[in-house]
């Protein structure tokens, strides 16, 4: 080991000083999220402000972590909350259980529940981690509510729509139906991606 070896070692360090920095300076900046990231859920509305959720509990039934609690109720005839007979009377998601697998989104027959791209949030109490309908429901503009303890950035509320996997109603595995993004109220509908077979973007 020569005397100059340690100097050469420092050389590497000093040389790197002038390279481009790789660190993302969170919280000053955030890395871009991938398009299909599963983040915090939102409950969507129709254009007329009606809730899409009909309280069918399919999401709760399919949830592998048992993090969703839904109860339905008869829609009040004079002031309906959602179209149809039934609406989601209680809707709660426990984010200390949710594994963001998106099965709820796939199960939802009305595209009521989708996942946003927001993933930067934390809680100091267990109770805070249970989001109720008040927090999950999108605002009147169709955009997700930005809650004070969540770290939303400009434009991050854009993609709350879900990628709907095309499954056959008969359960046929070889079925290739139309795949598309769920309708998104706040920023409109996104163009569908290319189908599973790599076709012409059906």
């Amino acid at each position: 080991m020569g005397l100059l070896d340690s100097v050469r070692g420092f050389g590497l360090t000093f040389g790197k000083l002038f390279d481009e920095r790789v660190t993302t300076e969170y919280p000053a900046e955030k890395r871009e999220k991938s398009e299909r990231l599963h983040g915090r859920h939102v409950l969507n509305r129709y254009e007329d402000g009606m809730e899409k959720c009909i309280g069918c509990e399919l999401c709760a039934g399919v949830c592998p972590a048992n993090c969703i609690y839904v109860r339905g109720q008869d829609n009040p005839a004079d002031d309906p909350v959602s179209p149809g007979e039934r609406f989601g009377f209680v809707y709660e998601i426990n984010y200390l259980r949710c594994i963001h697998c998106d099965l709820c989104v796939e199960a939802c027959p009305t595209e009521a529940i989708t996942e946003s791209k927001l993933f930067e949030f934390s809680f100091t109490s267990r109770d805070d981690a249970i989001y109720t309908k008040d927090e999950l429901l999108v605002g009147d503009d169709g955009k997700p509510q930005q809650l004070p303890w969540e770290d939303w950035r400009d434009g991050e509320d854009q993609h709350t729509s879900a990628w709907m996997r095309a499954t056959a109603p008969s359960g046929d595995a070889s079925y290739e139906g139309r795949v598309a993004w769920a309708g998104e109220l706040g920023y409109g509908t996104r163009d569908p991606e290319v189908g599973q077979s790599g076709g012409d973007g059906d």
Partner: protein, 841 residues
């Protein structure tokens, strides 16, 4: 069951395998019995086939070549070749489903049936997967309420005819029917006539789609949320039920098809009674007397919440004080007929074996003496209604009080060759299905029965014409007779009924079904919760030694019944009263005596699930577990033992009744030695003469329950069981020509605690009315709806009148426990019958 002879067996080839069908059996049933399931919607094993849905089409070759035939309409014939899996069959199933789904809305996510729907399941299993129809579906207003508890959604209906068949064939209330023709066919009620059937909930259960939904369960949960357990509903029939709960709340009760009892049916009152279980007025914590600040004091004006330790100690010290001051006779126990059989035993052991009092009565003056009931030879319901037998009805209207028994009776009367003789004072809901309506005048039923049995049918007896007496005698002749006996009216003492029983015991082939009020009354009488009796249908005299050896102590002399206890309380010789789920203020026929008796008691200890009027006046209140909140065994009118299972936890700190007895015994420095319902049952099996050989395992394992045959000899070491001896006949009260004889009966929906705590039923309890024959009404100048004053020797009440052709001449019917007027004010327990005079106002 005899071994099938060759004539009974029909060989049929199903999917290439030869199987044996029974003669006359439908192909669909024969296939299912042999493990080949054929999809179906309209077929129901308890109703006649109609072949409406065409789902059960299979390829059948009965000798003339293979063709598609509906297997639910096809009795098996020898040599039939059936293929349920052929391409043709599959194409038919596929096509029928696609056809059924043309107009069926796909709103499964909001449909209560979604997840347990035969249409959904069979579409997944046999359906096409895709529909070729793009046209708009049929639309109706949805949902429409067709009764107080049932909603109808005609869009979902697939016209299977199940609900309409049930209403007309099974329940006899043909209030829903097909209307219109062709593609416009729909099920609906008639205009301005709701589906007001006591059995409407059954149509919801048998509907193969979500067309009929029940209001109490509507949108409460999804099928995959529900946890379920098979249990027994604690009514005198012991109906088998499936209790379903989600998040520790009972949300639905479904009937379970049990050959022996309810055949899958339930009355609406039982089916929807679960609403009361999660009512927010349930008692959830022990209460004792205290001051307005919530402090427990000995003589406060309020009931304040406290801990179990304090409440049990308070109850025990009251019992100890009474024991020291007035002996065991100064303590009484009323009620216990709604407990499990185990809990009844434990309470009997506490009262008779620890405290040492025989003042114990599960019946509130509206039953029959246990010495009579437990001594009678019993029959099973199925045997009683076997073709060729005869049934005598001497009970409350079964349609009002014992719905599933009514359905069995109705089925037997329509389908089976049985004769029904009604001796009850008024006609029951069976109407014209009754062979002979020999409606005996209250007080005279003993004489009427005697006349029928002895064949002295040439003169009119007790308001029954000779022709009817002759018809009744003929209807019973040479048939196995089952007497269904109870108390048709509390305005008539038990004496004449017992006389009638005594007369019928002289028939050649006779057995009895004691049909008394309150859920587990048979268990209570078997377990000795009644004066003079000990567990196992034995008396104090016969079984005293046996139980003294097991328990340590047993009262020497027979004690008081409920009326006697209340009178003893009034004269001060009874100072501590335990109410076991009993509400004498509302339920005892003499309300005045009940209120004076309860007020005079130094300490009233109430064990109940709701704060009834009697409980509100108690000094110590111990909250008990209700139905589905504790396990045990139920005893029905046949003596059939079937398991009651726990599904949810009791609210708050409420405890099982047997545990309350054990705690109380512990506080009295005694150990009952019972740690669980199972250990209680083991003791019953070990000690009770009537229950020898019925182990916990046997009771739990039997789907239809277990009837222990009454042994001729209980075994050398066990005491003898009580036997029936006819008492001195009650004297017949002469008829007062100016008065009507009162019948105080009961209706399904009344002011009872459970009904009134169920949101969907509380409002169905009508106002009290007095019904009388139109000719009697005309003679008195009373028109429909007129307010009349009804006067007995005791009091008078005012209530509206209603002429009713079903009431025989000379009688007046007022239902008990209805809002508006309390018929109990008229009744004097000391007289055999109550005559009332009616005057217009």
């Amino acid at each position: 069951m005899t071994a099938p002879t060759d004539a009974d067996v029909v060989p049929v080839t199903v999917n290439g395998v030869e199987v044996e069908a029974n003669a006359g059996e439908l192909l669909i049933d024969a296939c299912e019995r042999n493990g080949v399931y054929i999809p179906r919607f309209c077929h129901h094993p308890r109703m006649k086939p109609v072949g409406m849905c065409r789902m059960c089409l299979v390829e059948v070759d009965a000798g003339r070549g293979a063709s598609l035939q509906p297997s639910c309409m096809l009795p098996c014939t020898p040599g039939m070749i059936v293929d349920t899996e052929s391409d043709l069959t599959k194409k038919a199933q596929d096509g029928v489903l696609e056809f059924l789904l043309i107009n069926h809305p796909l709103d499964c996510p909001v449909c209560d049936k979604g997840g347990e729907c035969p249409l959904q399941d069979q579409t997944m299993a046999y359906g096409p997967g895709e529909s070729r129809f793009v046209e708009e579906k049929r639309h109706y207003e949805k949902p429409i309420p067709i009764s107080d508890t049932v909603y109808l959604d005609r869009e979902r209906c697939i016209l299977c005819d199940r609900c309409t068949r049930f209403a007309s064939e099974v329940a006899g209330d043909p209030l829903i029917h097909f209307q219109d023709r062709g593609s416009q066919t729909q099920v609906n009620t008639f205009p301005d006539e709701p589906f007001a059937s006591y059995f409407s909930g059954n149509t919801v259960q048998i509907c193969p789609v979500g067309a009929l939904t029940a209001k109490p369960y509507r949108f409460k949960a999804r099928p995959w949320d529900l946890e379920e357990v098979d249990s027994t509903f604690p009514n005198p029939m012991g109906d088998r039920v499936n209790v379903q709960s989600s998040r520790d709340r009972v949300l639905r009760i479904q009937g379970v098809d049990s050959d022996a009892t309810n055949w899958g049916w339930l009355t609406d009152r039982d089916r929807f009674s679960f609403e009361a279980l999660s009512h927010d007025q349930r008692l959830v914590t022990p209460l004792v007397r205290g001051d307005s600040l919530g402090n427990a004091t000995d003589d406060g004006d309020e009931l304040v919440a406290t801990s179990w330790a304090v409440a049990v100690e308070r109850a025990a010290s009251a019992i100890t004080a009474s024991l020291e001051a007035g002996g065991a006779e100064s303590i009484g126990v009323i009620g216990g007929a709604n407990l499990t059989t185990e809990a009844q035993y434990v309470w009997a052991k506490l009262a008779k074996g620890v405290i040492g009092t025989d003042n114990v009565d599960a019946q509130l003056g509206d039953g029959l003496p246990a010495q009579v009931v437990t001594a009678l030879p019993r029959n099973t319901i199925s045997d009683a209604m076997a073709p060729g037998s005869a049934v005598v009805l001497l009970v409350d209207d079964p349609k009002e009080q014992f719905g599933t028994l009514f359905l069995r009776l109705r089925h037997a009367a329509v389908e089976g060759d049985i004769t029904i003789v009604e001796l009850s004072p008024i006609a029951s809901g069976l109407g014209s299905l009754v062979t002979v309506g020999a409606h005996a005048r209250p007080g005279d039923v003993g004489a009427v029965a005697r006349a029928i049995v002895d064949g002295r049918t040439d003169v009119e007896v007790g308001g029954v014409e000779p022709a009817e007496l002759q018809a009744a005698a003929a209807a019973l002749a040479a048939r196995a007779v089952t007497v269904i006996v109870g108390r048709p009216s509390v305005a008539e003492q038990a004496g004449p009924i017992i006389d009638a029983i005594a007369a019928f015991t002289e028939l050649e082939s006779v057995s009895f079904l004691p049909l008394l009020r309150r859920g587990n009354i048979s268990g209570a009488l078997d377990m000795g919760l009644t004066p003079g009796m000990l567990p196992g249908r034995t008396t104090l005299a016969e079984g005293g030694e046996w139980y003294r050896a097991a328990w340590g102590t047993v009262p020497a002399d027979s004690g008081l019944d409920t009326a006697g206890m209340l009178e003893a309380a009034v004269d001060g010789s009874l100072t501590t009263l335990v109410l076991l789920g009993a509400d004498p203020l509302a339920d005892f026929p003499d309300a005045d005596l009940a209120s004076r008796g309860l007020a005079a008691c130094r300490t009233v200890i109430a064990v109940d699930i709701f704060a009834s009027s009697s409980v509100a006046n108690a000094d110590v209140v111990l909250p008990a577990a209700g139905f589905a909140e504790g396990a045990g065994t139920h005893t029905n009118l046949e003596g059939r033992l079937s398991p009651l299972m726990q599904k949810v936890n009791p609210p708050g700190t409420a405890r099982a009744d047997w545990l309350i007895a054990a705690e109380l015994a512990w506080a009295l420095r005694a150990d009952l030695g019972i740690e669980s319902p199972e250990s209680a049952w083991a003791e019953i099996e070990r000690l009770a003469p009537s229950h020898a050989g019925a182990t916990v395992e046997q009771v739990r394992a039997a789907h239809d329950g277990l009837v222990i045959p009454r042994p001729d000899d209980a075994g050398a070491d066990r005491p003898a069981m009580v036997s029936f001896s006819a008492p001195v006949p009650t004297e017949i009260v002469p008829v007062d020509g100016y008065a009507l004889r009162l019948v105080a009966d009961r209706r399904l929906y009344d002011q009872g605690t459970i009904v009134q705590h169920c949101a969907s039923m509380a409002h169905q309890s009508d106002l009290a009315r007095i019904s009388m024959h139109p000719l009697d009404a005309a003679a008195l100048g009373v028109r429909d709806g007129d307010l009349v004053r009804v006067t007995s020797a005791r009091a008078s009440i005012e209530l509206p009148a209603r002429p009713d052709r079903c009431v025989p001449r000379g009688r007046a019917v007022i239902p008990l426990n209805r809002a508006g007027a309390d018929v109990r004010a008229l009744i004097d327990l000391a007289t055999v019958v109550t005559d009332v005079r009616v005057a217009t106002l």
